[in-house]
Assembly symmetry: C2
Homo-oligomer: 342 residues x 2
């Protein structure tokens, strides 16, 4: 069932049917009703491709996922983020176009999207300091929202981010307040912007209290369980070991917990652990009292906000940069306690 058939069936011109369905004012209310009823009755649905061709808009949002040749970890927060964003798109009659491309082809993908308007906008994932994609998208004039921020990029653009710096500063202070002096940081790869900011927050907090950071207690690596485990095992084996860990993700922290157990220590009393919790749906931080003390911020929420912001930008046809900076909640769980007396 297409427009032509529907209009023939109604004995009305395509123009009028189209306008009736798209809520144009210049159509009689009675005919509009009739048209809409017929559309539903005959299960008519406008072909988005034809619509896109005619309007130049695609009613689709692009997500470009670069596959790195180097480190092949698929980001575990991806599923929750996409699900949340996708739901917003669906509610707003937009499609989600996912492109999984080799990182070297990422730029070309954006250019293609812009050239033939396959999408009305894109979400940029995993920004790196001074990220080249931002300049590119600005040049292309393709609306975009960055999930996170790119430091060193002094130009303005739209983003949704959590206050990573402040978050880790607070976490560090929390541990310092508990008397911990030997605090380790197990972080993500530092070419990721969030990891860099978290480290800054950590260092600032230590510096402000006159505690010097030890390089051997600051790990930056892939965010896997195993990395958490290996890092913690290594640090706990040192003659003077940390009494507390700040860990950038739940998954890494699970490895840290394993290491603590194997070292014969008890998490919470012997060794404190504080994590950043993305509130992944399949990794709830315990039921009732959280398993881990955490700086918490739902990545699903971020996904919704990103999606909505982008849709707003597109709808308003106004790319003036918008920002949302989310503060994390510092929620106390069972993994932290006062520093043990040496």
């Amino acid at each position: 069932m297409n427009l032509k058939e529907l209009s023939a069936l109604l004995g009305i011109s395509q123009t009028t049917v189209s306008r009736a369905l798209n809520d144009f004012p210049e159509v009689n209310e009675a005919t509009r009703k009739r048209v809409k009823a017929a559309a539903i009755a005959h299960n008519y649905r406008a072909n988005p491709r034809a619509k896109g061709l005619a309007t130049g808009r695609s009613m689709a949002i692009g997500h470009v996922i670069p596959i790195s040749t180097k480190h092949e970890i698929v980001n575990p927060i991806f599923a929750d983020f996409i699900a949340a964003a996708g739901e917003v798109y669906s509610r707003n009659a937009h499609d989600m176009l996912l492109s999984v491309v080799a990182d070297v082809d990422e730029e070309r993908t954006y250019r293609d999207h812009a050239a033939n308007a396959s999408v009305d906008g894109v979400i940029v994932h995993g920004p790196k300091p001074n990220d080249s994609r931002i300049k590119l998208l600005k040049n292309l004039g393709l609306p975009f929202v960055v999930h996170g921020r790119a430091s060193d990029d002094d130009t303005d653009y739209s983003w949704v981010d959590i206050n990573n710096r402040r978050s880790f500063e607070r976490a560090t202070n929390f541990l310092l307040d508990l008397g911990h002096q030997r605090i380790a940081l197990i972080n993500g790869l530092e070419f990721m912007d969030f990891a860099k900011r978290r480290k800054d927050g950590f260092l600032d907090a230590l510096g402000n209290r006159g505690v010097s950071a030890r390089p051997e207690w600051m790990i930056s690596n892939e965010m896997t369980e195993n990395v958490g485990y290996q890092s913690a095992i290594a640090m706990l084996a040192q003659p003077t070991a940390p009494t507390a860990f700040i860990v950038s993700s739940m998954i890494m922290a699970i490895g840290v917990r394993r290491a603590i157990g194997e070292a014969g220590k008890k998490m919470g009393s012997d060794i404190s652990v504080i994590i950043h919790d993305d509130a992944l749906s399949y990794l709830p931080n315990g039921a009732g009292i959280p398993m881990f003390t955490a700086t918490k911020s739902s990545v699903q929420h971020a996904g919704q906000l990103c999606a909505q912001m982008l849709l707003d930008i597109i709808a308003a046809n106004d790319t003036t940069p918008r920002h949302i900076l989310l503060e994390t909640e510092l929620t106390v769980g069972e993994s932290t306690g006062p520093a043990p007396k040496c």
Copy 2:
């Protein structure tokens, strides 16, 4: 730069340019070269929307992710699966259209896809026994591949699945061979086909050895860390507790491990654990010797196979059902050992 401009620029008709670019035989080899060179030089890329309108094909594959109103867990294997499938699409010049819709709207989404040919085929995720989507897609004539299978559906269709039954039968036998008699199963929700098959395999193995299954040792629930933890805690507190656990996912098993630790037991010697390992990129099963003994099968591999199978079906224009049944690897790790003498 569009076809018209390009052809004007070359002084050749649109027809010929189009045919040259699409490798039709009836075009002079010299002009074809010239056209292709010009296309590259001017960075011409055919508008997929216009192409789709003209051909009726979309060069896109749909993935419909139903958001349940009841249990809001986003499947953690999703990210790896999608990344792997998406990469195959990209290599084959296809797009991936993701629709995240309320489960009640899922059917409508398929109908829409079919009605206006927004996609050339779809992947069906998380089949349930006797899944209605399969009938629907057959009726719609939309090519599809199911990741998994729908038991009780005696009609034939294309799928890629792992041998869940056999896998869990082997795992159970492995534990029985080690002398375990009190074996618990911590499984996913049983309306998911894979969970049902795993349970069958488990029960078969026990039955064949004359060991009777205890209902209170068979859990079926969301596959989260916390569920694994709570389930194991509860079972370990019983007067006669299981000496071994078979766990349907790594994430649940992490919770089980936590429970074992808190119960003052040691995994591997006191309590054995064997898991199914989807080989998620962010959850490697230890480095070197696996942390968990596991039936292993890479979900990324499954994603590639599904994607490729669907593309093959579409390219061959032949929907004769195809099947791939993957056997899992039983890899021995540190989480299993002989049953303790009672």
